[in-house]
Every structure is written in structure tokens, then in C-alpha cells.
Amino acid sequence: MKEKIIAILEDVCESTDIRDNPDVDLFEAGLLDSLGIVSLLIELETSFGLQLEPTDVDRKQISSVDNIVAFLKSKGCN
């Protein structure tokens, strides 16, 4: 799952920084903005079969690869 998420983030953030440093805080590094968040949610929807709204997630839950993994697991994904 972690690999899938890194791949999604590479695409969404248009950057290889995440692969080089998977613990990076996406917001502090300026890799995710509001459009990025939307794109990320869309990708997570299609890749993991979820239905997500912007207010279902708070920033902390998607601020790093590990946090996203934890978030998806809490939604029952593998």
C-alpha cells in the first residue's frame, strides 16, 4: 500500500521528493496545496474504492505517507 501511495503522490505533487524522502511533511514542504489535496482524494477514491469529501479528512491525516496509510487503514482498506 505504501508503494501505491508514493506513486500517487509523485503524480499528484509532480515531484520525486517523496520517493527520496518518504517521511516528508507534504504541507511544510509545499508539495500539497488545495488542488493537490483534491487530486489526492480523487486518486485515493479510484485506487481504493472510497467515497471521500474534503471535510472528511483533516490535514494531519494526509500530511505524510505514513499518515495516509493510517487513514486508509482506518477506512478499512488494504
Binding site: S34, V38, E45, E53, P54, T55
Partner: protein, 406 residues
């Protein structure tokens, strides 16, 4: 005719959210309000020290203060109560219905119903009379819309009428926000705050913010208004336009940020950490950052409930080739709506459109322009960016002020 002019005048005073804080009374009125506030907050402090949840006292005091605030503006008590009843019924009923089924048509019906009072008010104001006007209607409507949306989403599953009522009448943010969210507010009012936290965090920070708010609004904004803004002659010479633009922008900031600090500080004392509304907005490096620093609760609301959702729908339905086109379209729609929310006057609409286009142009510039890519880490260039952003923003406020309609 005179009567209509008086109503128009009142409504104008109303719609300018700078003056709509209810604190902008005569000197006597302002001090009276502060005195009442001080008296009313003392039991809240006592409760905090005793580690008792303030929500029951909070509701009591909010009802009292809401009555006072609405009464002071001498308009709309009946509408206020009607609005409260309407929204509470709508939300409670919809919450019940939604548990049975998730129907999009019903959702839109309830959503539109919750916006009707505000629409009627803004439309009637444009036509020159007042229907459904009361202090805080624009801000309370956000709370209603937000709840209906999250009930549909399934994020809000149950609503206690008591806490719903408190969410709406919570007096510190009643007249002009900051705009809070039901789930966040509900967590806050149900949280048990330790005496230590109250005495080291909530109380001192609350007092600090109240003092800052008073300084901003009753000192700085007052001085700017008295010795600068109102001294500018009425004719629209270039020099006057220039002066008015900056005077108005600074006045707007100190007045509104002052009110917001005051509101946030008061709510801290009541054990609620209402989010801040401003953070050094005139030091923004570009327009996108500006909207994360100015009227933050408003732009976050529009971002979460309008922009992000529109963009997601565009992308889900693949209506645009590029995600940027989808985003740009959504940004213009969102900003235009934001302008519309202020009022149906042409200068509010233009203000919204202006910011929508600015967001698009500045994003395009930063993504595509080689000059930017080369210099964006250069300190001098960044200073220029801040300077340019500041001026662009001030010009926007000039439009917003209705200066060009006088």
C-alpha cells in the same frame, strides 16, 4: 421616500460587514457593551477555574447577549427568532430524514431552504427595502449550510437540539464570525478543560486577544477612520483615490481583525477555541497565500464547501482535460459566490470576480513564467512580490468599498 432612504441607509450600514459587528456604536454604547461583557464573563471564568463545562451558562448568556446585540441594532429581532426556529427545524428534520435514506433531491431541497432567508434578505436589500434582515444573518447562514452538507455526507450523524441551538446563538461570533464548524464546536463545548489549561491557556490567551481586539478596533481603526479615511475629500481625483484605497484597506483590516480578535478572545474565556481570522495578511507573497491569511474562516469555508467540492466533481466527471482548468473554473465560481455573499451590488460581484481572476492569473504566472521560476527564491524578488500583492489587494478593497459607485 424618506422612509425608504432610511431603510436603505440602515441596510447599507448592515451589509458592510465592517460596521455590522454591533460593537460599532456610539462611544457610550461601546463602553456599555464592554462593561456588560466583563460582568457576564466573570461567572464563565469562575466555571473555568472550577473545571466545570461552561456550555449551560454559555447558552444562557448567549441568549441574553444575542437579544442585546440584535436589539441594539434596532432591527430584526423577529426575523432573528424566525430564522433560528427555521434553521433548527430544517437541520433537525433533515438529520432525521437522512438517517432513513440518502436522497440527492431532498438534500438540495433542504439546502436551498436553509439559504432562502439570506437570499430574500440580499434581494430585498438590492430592491431598496428590508426583508428578513437581522444582525448576523450572513454568518449564521454559513453554519446552517455547513451542517446540512455534512449531514448529507454522513459526517454529522446526530444532532442534539440544545447543542445545535448553542452553536447558532453562541454570542461572541454571532454578528460577524469567525465562522466555526459544528463538529469542531461541539467537541470544544463537551471537552472537560482542566483548571491548569484554563488558567494557562484559555484565560490568558482570551484576555490577550480581547485586549488586542480593543486596541485594533477602538484605537487604530478609530484613528484611521477619524484622522484619515473620513478626511479625504469626496471628489475622485487620482490623489484621493490613492489615499482612500490605502486608508480604507488599513481601516478594514484593523476594524475587522480587531472585532475577530475580540470574538475569539471572548470565546476562549467560554472554553471554545474559535479559529482565528487573520494572520499578517499584508505580508502575503501572492494572492493564494493572501486568502490563507485574510478572513481565514471565510476562505476556508468556501474552500472546503465550494471550491474543493466543485473541483472534485469536475475531476470525477472528467469535465476538463487538465486539472488546472478544472481548478481555475472552480476558483472563479467560488470567488464570485464569495462576492455575491457580501451583497448583490455590482461592486461586490466585481470584487469576487477580480479575486477569482487574480487567483487564476497568479497561479498561471507562477507555473509558467520563466522569470518567476528563476527568481522565486531571491529575497529581493520576494519583497517585490509582497509589495505587488499588497497593492493588488488594496485595489480590490477599493472596489469592495463601493467607492466607485458614489
Amino acid at each position: 421616500m424618506n422612509f425608504i432612504l432610511r431603510i436603505l441607509d440602515l441596510v447599507n450600514h448592515f451589509q458592510n460587514y465592517v460596521a455590522s459587528s454591533g460593537l460599532d456604536l456610539s462611544q457610550y454604547g461601546s463602553y456599555l457593551y464592554l462593561l456588560i461583557l466583563a460582568i457576564v464573563l466573570i461567572p464563565a471564568v469562575v466555571l473555568g477555574i472550577l473545571q466545570v463545562r461552561t456550555k449551560y451558562y454559555g447558552v444562557l448568556v448567549s441568549v441574553g447577549m444575542a437579544v442585546l446585540l440584535v436589539w441594539f441594532t434596532r432591527l430584526g429581532m423577529g426575523y432573528f427568532l424566525l430564522f433560528l426556529a427555521l434553521e433548527i427545524v430544517l437541520i433537525s428534520v433533515y438529520s432525521y430524514i437522512r438517517k432513513k435514506k440518502k436522497n440527492k433531491c431532498l438534500y438540495f431541497l433542504f439546502l436551498i431552504a436553509s439559504i432562502l432567508p439570506l437570499l430574500s434578505f440580499k434581494a430585498s436589500a438590492l430592491a431598496g427595502y428590508d426583508f428578513f434582515g437581522f444582525l448576523g444573518i450572513s454568518y449564521l447562514t454559513f453554519k446552517a449550510i455547513q451542517m446540512i452538507i455534512e449531514i448529507y455526507d454522513g459526517a454529522i450523524t446526530s444532532v442534539s437540539i440544545f447543542r445545535l441551538f448553542y452553536f447558532f446563538v453562541f454570542f461572541p461570533t454571532l454578528s460577524s464570525g469567525p465562522i466555526d464548524r459544528y463538529r469542531r464546536f461541539d467537541e470544544d463545548i463537551n471537552r472537560k478543560i482542566s483548571r491548569k489549561d484554563y488558567l494557562t491557556d484559555y484565560l490568558p490567551n482570551g484576555i490577550r486577544k480581547i485586549v488586542m481586539g480593543i486596541g485594533y478596533k477602538f484605537v487604530l481603526a478609530y484613528l484611521i477612520n477619524t484622522y484619515w479615511l473620513t478626511t479625504i475629500p469626496a471628489d475622485h481625483s487620482f490623489a484621493h483615490i490613492f489615499s482612500y484605497m490605502y486608508a480604507y484597506s488599513f481601516f478594514l483590516f484593523f476594524d475587522f481583525a480587531g472585532y475577530s480578535n475580540f470574538a475569539v478572545g471572548t470565546s476562549y474565556i467560554l472554553g471554545v477555541k474559535t479559529p482565528n481570522n487573520f494572520f499578517l495578511p499584508f505580508l502575503s507573497i501572492n494572492i493564494k497565500e493572501f486568502w490563507t491569511r485574510w478572513h481565514i474562516s471565510l476562505s476556508k469555508w468556501f474552500g472546503d464547501y465550494l471550491y474543493s467540492r466543485i473541483t472534485m466533481n469536475f475531476m470525477r466527471k472528467k469535465l476538463f482535460k487538465s486539472k488546472h482548468s478544472a481548478s481555475y473554473t472552480a476558483q472563479v465560481i467560488t470567488m464570485f459566490t464569495m462576492g455575491l455573499w457580501h451583497g448583490f451590488q455590482w461592486y461586490y460581484l466585481l470584487y469576487g470576480l477580480y479575486h477569482g481572476l487574480l487567483l487564476v492569473i497568479s497561479d498561471f504566472y507562477e507555473r509558467k513564467c520563466p522569470l518567476h521560476k528563476k527568481n522565486k527564491d531571491n529575497f529581493a524578488y520576494q519583497c517585490i512580490q509582497v509589495f505587488v500583492t499588497f497593492n493588488i489587494v488594496c485595489f480590490g478593497f477599493l472596489i469592495f468599498s463601493g467607492y466607485f459607485s458614489k
